[in-house]
């Protein structure tokens, strides 16, 4: 790694510096576009008491779900959880804390963190439990809730292709939370299916500019499907 080249040599190096008690922002929606191998590496390090900010928490045995196996997660900040039994068990046993956050607010909190916006107003959640203890204010006669940005010690994201500088493109619906997550980490680690040379990607078609990416690694992906729905051909 020198100059603008963000490529690291191993998954160990990719997640170096991760410590107990840290906050991790993760891209992905369900099992789609998740940084599978970075999650596996987090499991391998055995760090504990993590706060994980991610729309979902994977399933039993895959995705963020595997971090529950050794009780590495203290708290999840998510919009929708509980697709796995282990999650339910740990939640009911009081071993796991969940901060439910509306999906759009969650995406915007990540973007705001990356964009230097400490807080923003949204109508989402006004008058609900989500708004309890939060400031509210009227604009043009409508009440809004003040939501604060959320930054991670690490952000882990998955893209399709990136050049060595970290300029990245996502494929289809695997984009989802990844672009915002990529901006919200003090250290942003990206794994991709293919690393290309600078100049190979069209300059005006980059989803995540390399300035947000600190470490880049190429991996192989299982890409498990959560709900395989098909029609007869």
């Amino acid at each position: 790694m020198a100059g603008l080249d963000k490529v690291v040599g191993s998954y160990e190096e990719a997640m170096a510096g991760l410590e107990d008690g840290m906050t991790i922002i993760a891209g992905g929606f369900g099992l789609c576009g998740i940084p599978e191998n970075l999650i596996a590496q987090i499991k391998k390090t055995g760090v504990k008491d993590l706060t994980i900010v991610s729309n979902n928490c994977g399933v039993d045995g895959f995705g963020l779900g595997i971090l529950l196996e050794d009780k590495q997660v203290k708290k999840m900040v998510s919009s929708y959880v509980g697709e796995n039994k282990l999650f339910e068990q740990q939640l009911l046993a009081g071993e796991l804390e969940v901060e439910l956050t509306p999906q759009g607010t969650l995406a915007e909190k990540m973007r705001a963190a990356g964009a230097g916006i400490p807080a923003f107003y949204t109508a989402t959640g006004y008058g609900t439990e989500i708004a309890k203890g939060k400031d509210t204010r009227e604009f043009n006669g409508r009440p809004y809730v003040l939501e604060e940005s959320i930054k991670g010690d690490f952000a882990i994201v998955k893209a399709w292709k990136a050049d060595r500088h970290g300029n990245a493109i996502y494929r289809l619906a695997a984009q989802n939370f990844n672009p915002m997550a990529a901006t919200a980490g003090k250290i942003t680690v990206m794994e991709v299916e293919e690393i290309v040379e600078p100049g190979e990607l069209p300059v005006d078609q980059i989803h995540t500019p390399g300035i947000y990416v600190d470490r880049l690694i190429q991996g192989t992906f299982e890409k498990r499907i959560e709900q395989r729905t098909v029609r007869p051909s």
Binding site: A173, P179, E226, V230
Partner: protein, 219 residues
């Protein structure tokens, strides 16, 4: 007779206009796409970042990178676009989606809706529902008029934790099409063969019945 799930979807589909961008929730709302009349072109929005969502894929078309907000594998129609979750909810929150259809546990006569959480049961989360109800001006809520025990879901005041406050104006149940005006339910249409009396008796909130209430037309 009470409408089937398919018939509720059929009635909702009548509210879809040509050129609409529509977000359909999970369950009955998803069925609405099957009943959009010929000659009407709409684009389905999915919260995870899709416009122009199409049918389920064939076995050959299945792609792990191509799912909808229900995490189901899907395809796209021509003229589709894919974008980030932040952009998706910018659209939703900013009021750009023309029609949102979603289910609920309860709706009250103030237009409050409860749809994501039953205390004591496992809380899975609100997903995008809170953003959807806060962002859309045009929402249709679909649900059965009463639960399996006969308890009304159209209440004077919601008892469950809210998904949104004062945001629902239109409800299609298995018994009726109901609007909310000035803090009251207003009966607009009856399911074929269902009496006004039955509807009123199964509505816990205040229901205004003015004039003759027509039967729904289901082609």
């Amino acid at each position: 007779m009470a409408l089937t799930r398919e018939q509720i979807a059929q009635r909702v589909a009548q509210e879809v206009q040509d050129g609409f961008y529509v977000n359909l929730g999970i369950g009955i709302p998803t069925l609405v796409s099957n009943y959009i009349p010929d000659g009407i072109e709409v684009s389905l929005q999915s919260e995870n970042g899709l416009l122009g969502m199409g049918r389920f894929p064939t076995e050959d078309e299945v792609d792990a990178d191509m799912i909808n907000a229900g995490k189901q594998t899907v395809t796209l129609n021509k003229g589709a676009a894919i974008f980030s979750s932040a952009e998706s909810f910018a659209m939703i929150r900013g009021g750009h989606v023309d029609l949102t259809v979603l289910g609920a546990f309860e709706v009250d006569q103030q237009g409050d809706i409860a749809s994501y959480m039953i205390p004591g049961k496992l809380i899975k989360g609100m997903g995008g529902a809170m953003d959807l109800v806060a962002g859309a001006e045009n929402i249709i809520c679909t649900m059965t008029h009463a639960d399996r025990h006969g308890n009304s879901k159209l209440l004077p005041k919601c008892t469950l934790p809210l998904t949104g406050m004062a945001c629902i104006h239109r409800i299609v149940t298995d018994l009726a099409y109901v609007e909310i005006h000035d803090g009251k339910f207003v009966l607009k249409e009856r399911a074929p063969g269902v009496s006004v009396e039955e509807i009123v008796s199964k509505t816990a909130g205040e229901m205004v019945v003015e004039g003759d209430i027509p039967e729904m037309k289901l082609a």
